[in-house]
Symmetry: C2
Subunit: 150 residues, 2 copies
Amino acid sequence: MKAAFSFAVAAAVLLGAAPASAQFAKPEDAIKYRQNALFVMGQHFGRLGAMANGRAPFDAKAAADNADIVLTLSQLPWAGFGPGTDKAAPTKAEPAVWAEPAKFKAASDKMQAEVAKLAAAAKTGNLDNLKAAFGPTAASCKACHDDFRK
Amino acid sequence: MKAAFSFAVAAAVLLGAAPASAQFAKPEDAIKYRQNALFVMGQHFGRLGAMANGRAPFDAKAAADNADIVLTLSQLPWAGFGPGTDKAAPTKAEPAVWAEPAKFKAASDKMQAEVAKLAAAAKTGNLDNLKAAFGPTAASCKACHDDFRK
């Protein structure tokens, strides 16, 4: 019963991912796409972190702008993890991404939810709000990396 | 007089770019950042092109979503072309990027202006509008690649 349910969930997630992976000309492009989107996102997330952690002066407009870019980018990488993109090019993605798709989706959904809260916090123009939202967002990045990235 | 003016323009553009390049931990990051942002943008722009050119069925929501992503990404790469990012890592950027900064800025501004029109066209949900805006946008990409990309 549990196995059947897990299979159904996995099938649903994979079927959901199929049209997305079809958006790429070849699996290597999907791998490059997800890596590139995550790198660009990381650069902008790092600028928010520098402000949240006091390594850079707080600039309300820059914070809101960076958070909006992170918000847009946070939605992109997942389409690049479709079937057949586990080893077509060098990747730090763990096999668990494809072996435990429901768990991976939950982790990516969690990150996107935290980023949405971070973007809302950044829009308030208040450094304390940014600080409060930054930690949980960074934790959601780390949780996914711990389980799904080599 | 002409040389003095060109120098003043170049200095203004370079000074303007300095804070942006300071956002990167090292020049290699700036190069990777601009390349990655352009690659992700190109993937989404290609999906708009497939619809505009009839290689993929028109999907109004997908067109609007892709155009919005292109719009966000179109604003990013330029910060990655700061001083010292001409050869710190493999790059197809021509020396002209740094030798003719005003011309390069004009080309990147032109692209961003066309992308803004493309995003507005995509939001109308009308394929003919998308087709009309796609060509000039693609031409602005090509014009900059012709002059500034190996």
